[in-house]
Symmetry: C2
Subunit: 287 residues, 2 copies
Amino acid sequence: MPIFEQVAILGPGLLGASLAMAVRERKICERIVVWGRKEERLESCRAKPWCDFADRDLQKILFGSDLIVCCTPVDSIREMVGEIMPRTVKDVLVTDVGSVKESICREAREASTEESGTFVGSHPMAGSEKSGMEFASADLFLGRTCILTPDEDCPDEKVKRLTEFWGLLGMKIQVESPCRHDEIVANVSHLPHFLASSLGQYLSKRPKEWMEASGQGLRDTTRIAQGDAGLWLEIMKANQSKLSDSLDHWTKSLEEAKEFLRKGEWENLEKFLADGAHLRKSLGSGK
Amino acid sequence: MPIFEQVAILGPGLLGASLAMAVRERKICERIVVWGRKEERLESCRAKPWCDFADRDLQKILFGSDLIVCCTPVDSIREMVGEIMPRTVKDVLVTDVGSVKESICREAREASTEESGTFVGSHPMAGSEKSGMEFASADLFLGRTCILTPDEDCPDEKVKRLTEFWGLLGMKIQVESPCRHDEIVANVSHLPHFLASSLGQYLSKRPKEWMEASGQGLRDTTRIAQGDAGLWLEIMKANQSKLSDSLDHWTKSLEEAKEFLRKGEWENLEKFLADGAHLRKSLGSGK
């Protein structure tokens, strides 16, 4: 049964298009409208079963939408949200899919007026190394976690409504403050990416033929490093201070372990390896 | 067509048992004999189609073998090889499957007499997080790289013979000096493991609930960290100085990249990410 009248998807990239597909498939709303920058892209949207109307004019898209989801690249979400909030009216729910939340939520708060709708940040932790509408899939969200980041004074009912929305797409919901969210993803997502990139970058300066001796271990450890460099630059920019902190803390444990190796403190080194193995096993094999 | 009379497998673990299976399947020799420490384990070997004779008495196993492959855990290979070499006779080829080569090859050289057979180190880069005979598979070696580490004065004909052996199991052969081999694996195998462990160990000290926000990226980056801590301790011990060097060199690039982030040198950070992505893409998706 539809829980929204009209859902607006801003930015029909991998996430935006997958979201529209999933929303249609699960009959979450009556109408799906799409905003995009490029007429050519909108033209292909219009041919899809998950798009009832597409336009470059933001005003036409916002009009009549009771849920607005900003799915543009992370570096433009803040600006977009700043543009949208003053144009919304009470009862409209606005959210986004950005992977860094504090700056976006602050912008939404500052751009809102007394009459504005409610912004609640979302971070659906779904994606792929691929990008673009052509890789979209209605199942992208299935079984993944979505972190909601409401402001302290956000009405519970709005959080509940958004929880229902992502839940219908098969996501597990977690609620955190925007600041806490950014700290968590700095550690469990941006740090691993930085590390994988760093290993790849270091090895790119070594003799090419060495790579013939590499195996699945190196491939797994560096897999996420193939993500789009421009996109990841924007994510790291947006989470600069928390990622820096996380890198500093991690480097401390690393330096300790290097000392165990250098000095031959084998018991300590074995405990270090066992602790790492234990954490990894607790994550399960995943999908 | 058999290229050896009798192949001796010392240590029927994951690698040893897989090797015996593959050797039988490809009819590489007439007879396969197995040495192990535990009578119980040998008893189960005797029931397998890939084992013609199994015994705890090393002398009985060496007798009549023209290829001897030492497949015991990495920390005992050196000692085993030291024990074997003086008992072998001309024309016998001895090799191993250890993942660190310099100390093993040195031991083999020092333990050999004028009458001894020839030792050529092998490092078949095949394995799994699992260990033990029950996970053995004849296809373990297929498409993987095997690094041979002959001493400088090793007759070409011996290297050729061993190249043929591993080649028949489906492996790609690379020849390196023992020292160079250890440097390469320090960089492309032991360094990634250290790094994955370090990330896992660091996160094991953070709040447990953070892990609910982690995704496939973290799981991939830390996958190899679940390898057996005791086994990896022995590998790192055996390659202590080269792994230390590799960690120091890598840490330098890491610290540089951390500075790019901290100081907001975005162009440099993007190049760092792009270099990492490029290296990873060059590795392919692998099997």
